[in-house]
Structures are given as structure tokens and as C-alpha cells.
Symmetry: C2
Subunit: 347 residues, 2 copies
């Protein structure tokens, strides 16, 4: 990836969650531990914290001794602001030379004590939401390697988790693959990436091109999707990401409990079939060979029985493997990929 | 339009073109004079200037006496930078209380002498390329009034000029209409607008919604298009603009001499028919009644005979009026609109 544009985090991480009271607010930290346990050295919590992420308890001193390189703010505090007592801890971490990584709507460098501490120790202040500079306009030029993009019937239907589950499933079957992050939580999990929805509109597809650069012919980039072609607020981002990703394959992500497009009463969801067809129609511009290889469904609102019949009916309808990636895993979709593409693996 | 987001220029204008040697480099100034002659008080030129825009010659003192409110930098100097001698004149204009309006890739306020002069006199420094702040995400909510959006088979095929010609043709036939600018030159011509390609990706359709706000039921907003759904670099902007504009009608703009998509050898242009169909398919998300009312063709590379036969064949093919807006004007398309919509006018 382009040196000018990447967010590139240094592991191992100490994950800071302050005195958070509910798991929901610690989902960034929990996501990193779920998908990248090997990068996490421990957690830093205040007395009164009601969430335990199940990793070693480390002070900043312990972390430095253990070779930790970054303090990740793994929590979204209510109101989006960081309490004073947290800033004190962040300042200590910066003084100790740890990079500070933040995905909130603020600039770390605006906190002068943090900026001074980082200046002195050489620590980096990394605002994951900050748009990178010097991104080119999309070129449309074909890149080597295979690409799999998550697309959605709506926003927030599990595209990031589906991509991470697909990366794991591909690697488990001996296919080389890399998760490519395009949103701030994904970037904190992957340690690298560009937050595509923060770049200037003219550079959406150019950003997507940087996110999945040239690679080995047999390698699969598994790209985190954003938004939906059917969302009146975000479809432009989704189209630029689709064009710049040049996917050979797409997976449609869907939540059958959704009653209307996110935040848009009056806009109903497309059918899974319409979502497949539209993404293929638009995706053909930059990759005429694009095809859909499976459907990832968030079935958390369904009973076991409902899930089974929903997935079976959908699979009959679209003639593709349909799974809940967090329940069945994505192995069935990997089989589909191995059948459709000439995959050079041992298994 | 939203107070927080608009660029709103104060007329009359003095148009400054320095010592420019070729018309091409003065096209911003020439465009303003072509489409908004009533807003222009005069031109300010240096000795040696080889372009005459045909409006009165005014010094800054003359302009102040004549009630001029803004100095518009109407030229794109070679290299994009402003020579020192020009800055001196701009500073004098700011000291005299004229707003300074600039569409170049620089920030006027970064020139400290200009900033100081403006501070003292109360003049505004207006960088038309600067993205506005506080834009909302697109809501998808239906607005009152009619909307006509220019779309293109490619970038730079005459969407701005077609929109301006349509505004004029609609007004000539008694239909209330307003040109809505979405790019920097269009904004300098209209005196108001938002440069949509400079906003952050998540806010493209939200910006488009601000550009054509609620209006009288019979009023037509004629919206300047950007890019093309078929351009691998810019389609995301085009889709967000299409969704946020919620057009009742579209006009496809096309240049038959174009051999490939702008800057993209290897990407051929879509047919006019494909461009109509794709824009209608995507535009139906936010306005199910969207239809195409005509084709504007840039025929400047064709002979008179070629033009006539090209436009006739195309009209037979798509069964819609096809015109070169700068040669025939757009009256035939206005007739199409009057026939298709229940237009309440005298003529």
C-alpha cells in the first residue's frame, strides 16, 4: 500500500477501555480481540469497569516491559468525548513511547498535553478516521491477484464480520487471503487500511484501488464493503468502492429482520437477487468477469428453526451457498470459490 | 439553500484576467459573461493582455464608484499559481472592500496581505473550490418542485453548458427555472452552489439535496451534472448526485468524437441508449417517475452535414429530441418537457 496513505499500526497492542460499563461500547476492543488475538498483549481498565475482554491486565509500565507498541482506545464513550481522567492515562502512554490509536471523532493532536508527550517520546498519534492525503483519482487499471468484495442490501448488515470470516475460511482451506479494511473499526482490526467514507468524493475509487494493490495471481484480497447501492445516502461510496475494488467475486450481506433501509423509513430493502444483479451490472465496468459466490446472512434475530428454513429457501432461490458466517462459518462459500475459480492449493 | 453551506457571490462583478494571452485560459470569465452578462460590470486587464471579453474596462477605483461588489479571478494562469503583480492588484481590490472570488487550487486567506486587507475592509475571501462544512448525509426525503439533471456518457461533454442553455430555454417559454451549480465554474456563473466533488464521500447525496431545495410545484431546477456512471474514476460522485437530485427528468449529454472515457484508454463510452437506461435504473431509487427528455450533443467536431445526419439518426434511435444546445438551442427539449409534464405556463 502507498506509504503516503496508509494507516499502519504497530503491534502488540494494549487495549484501553477505561471504566466502560457495557460490552456494546467496547465493541472496537472486543472486535480486535476476536479477530486478531495474536496482536493483543492485554487490556488496561479503570476500577469500576464492568467489561472484561478476557486478556491479561497490564499497566502502562507492564506493557512497555512486554514490548507493547500501541495503546488502542478500544471504546466509544457515551457522547463521543474522552473524560479527563482517561486523557491523563493516554498522556502517560504517549510519554512512555506507545503510539496512540483512536477511532473517535476528534484529533488526538488537538490535545496539547498528548501532542507534547508524543513529540518528546517519538510516539505516533494515529486518528484512524482521518482521511489520508495524496490519493489519486481511480485509474481503472487492472491489477493482478483475485478480489472478493462484500456488498450489502443495506448499511450495517455484517459486511466487516463476513469479510473477516471469509479471510479465515479461505486461509483454513489453504487459499492465501488478506482482509482489506475500508472503515475505522476494520482498520483497527487489520492494523492497516483507509477509511474510504472520509475521503473527498472524487477519490473514492482511487482509494479503493490503493486498498487492494497488485498481488500474487492466486492471492485473494477480501475487501470490507461499505453502504449499499440501494441506500439513498451512501450509494455513491458503495459504487466507487465497487469500481475501484474490481472484484472477481462478491458476497451479498443481508439482515432479514431489517424493515427499511438504515435510517430511511419509506425506503424498503432490495431483494437479495436484486442486490446480486445490480452489483454485477455495475461491477462489470471494471471487471467484466465479476460473479456472486454466496450470501452471508445475519440471522441473530431468528430462532434456530427459522434460520434453517430461511437459509434453505434463500439458497434455493439464488442458487448459491447461504450462511450465517458467525454460526456456520464460510466454508461452504470457500467451496463455491474453489469450484468457480482455478484455485491452486493443497486442499 | 442552507446558510452553512452555500457559496453566495455578490454582484455586480469586476472580472480580472491579468495579462492572459489566450481565450482558453480566460474561460471562467468568458463563461460568466456569456451566461450572466447582467451581473458583470466590467473587466480588469493588465497591459499586454491579448484577450478582450467585450465588456467595459474598469480600474478598481472605477469599479468601486460603479457599485461593484466582487472581484472575480476569471482566469486559470498557466501552472495554477498567481504571479506577484496580480497579488498586488487583488490586495488593492480587497482593501477597497471588494469580495475576492477565486476558483483556483489555493486558499486566498493563505496570502497574508490579502487576508489583512480583507480583515480591515470587511471584504470576503471566497474560495469556490473549498468544500463547505456541516453538510448532512442524504435523507432521501422527497422535495417539492421539479428537477432536471444533466447526466453524461463521459466527463466534460458539455453538461454545464447544456444546463445553462436549458435554463434559458425553459425561461424563454415561460417555465420558471433555476440553474443549480455543482462545480466551481458553474458556481462562479450562478453566483451560488456547492462544489460537489470536493465534499467528503459520505455526503455526496446530502450535498445534492441542499443544491436543489424545496421549491414551487411548477418550478424547474436545472442541475449541473458531474462525471458519468460509466467513468471508473468518478461514477460514485455521479450516483450520489443522481440520488440526491431526485430528478423528474434527465438529459443525456454526449460527445460523439470521444474515443474513450476521459483519461481512460481501454474504457469505451457507453451508447446513449445505455446511458439513458442506466441513469433511469439508478435514479428510480429516489424518484420512481424519472424519465429522459432529450439528448444534448457537443457536435463541434462535426461538419454541418455530419451534425445533421448524426442528430437525426440518434433521434430515431432513442425517440427523443437530440440537439446541440449551442447551435440549435434547447427549445425542442422544452417542447418535450411541456408535453410530458403538466406545465402550467402561458405559452
Amino acid at each position: 500500500m502507498n506509504d503516503l496513505t496508509e494507516v499502519n499500526l504497530r503491534a502488540p497492542y494494549l487495549i484501553f477501555i477505561g471504566d466502560v460499563k457495557e460490552k456494546l461500547y467496547a465493541k472496537t476492543g472486543l472486535g480486535i480481540i476476536q479477530w486478531r488475538p495474536e496482536l493483543v498483549a492485554g487490556q488496561l481498565r479503570f476500577p469500576g469497569c464492568l467489561v472484561d475482554m478476557g486478556v491479561p491486565e497490564l499497566s502502562i509500565e507492564d506493557a512497555v516491559t512486554a514490548g507493547v507498541k500501541s495503546l488502542i482506545i478500544g471504546v466509544a464513550p457515551v457522547g463521543g468525548t474522552i473524560p479527563d481522567v482517561w486523557w491523563k492515562t493516554i498522556e502517560q502512554a504517549a510519554m512512555a513511547g506507545l503510539d496512540i490509536v483512536c477511532g473517535l471523532h476528534l484529533k488526538l493532536a488537538d490535545a496539547s498535553a498528548i501532542a507534547a508527550a508524543a513529540e518528546k517520546s517519538g510516539a505516533r498519534l494515529i486518528d484512524v478516521r482521518n482521511p489520508p492525503k495524496n490519493i489519486p483519482v481511480g485509474s481503472g487499471k487492472k491489477r493482478q491477484g483475485k478480489r472478493l468484495l462484500m456488498v450489502g442490501t443495506d448499511c450495517a448488515v455484517g459486511k466487516k464480520y463476513s469479510a473477516l470470516a471469509m479471510e479465515q475460511a479461505l486461509n483454513n482451506r489453504g487459499l492465501k487471503s488478506t482482509f482489506r479494511a475500508t472503515g475505522q473499526t476494520g482498520i483497527m482490526i487489520a492494523g492497516v487500511g483507509v477509511p474510504i467514507d472520509t475521503v473527498v468524493a472524487d477519490f473514492i475509487s482511487g482509494t479503493a484501488e490503493l486498498v487492494s494493490p497488485d498481488n500474487d495471481p492466486e492471492h485473494w484480497d477480501v475487501i470490507e464493503g461499505q453502504g449499499s447501492l440501494f441506500h439513498p445516502g451512501y450509494a455513491g461510496v458503495s459504487l466507487g468502492l465497487l469500481h475501484g475494488s474490481q472484484p472477481d467475486a462478491i458476497i451479498v450481506c443481508h439482515d432479514p429482520s431489517r424493515e427499511h433501509m438504515g435510517g430511511m423509513p419509506g425506503y424498503s430493502l432490495p431483494t437479495v437477487r436484486d442486490c446480486i444483479d445490480r452489483n454485477i451490472l455495475e461491477g462489470q465496468l471494471t471487471n467484466p468477469a465479476i460473479q456472486c459466490v454466496g450470501i452471508c446472512v445475519n440471522t441473530s434475530m431468528l430462532s434456530d428453526k427459522e434460520r434453517e428454513s430461511y437459509l434453505r429457501n434463500l439458497a434455493n432461490e439464488v442458487n448459491l451457498p447461504c450462511v450465517d458466517p458467525l454460526i456456520q462459518g464460510c466454508d461452504e462459500i470457500v467451496t463455491q470459490i474453489k469450484n468457480k475459480y482455478d484455485c491452486n492449493t493443497g486442499s
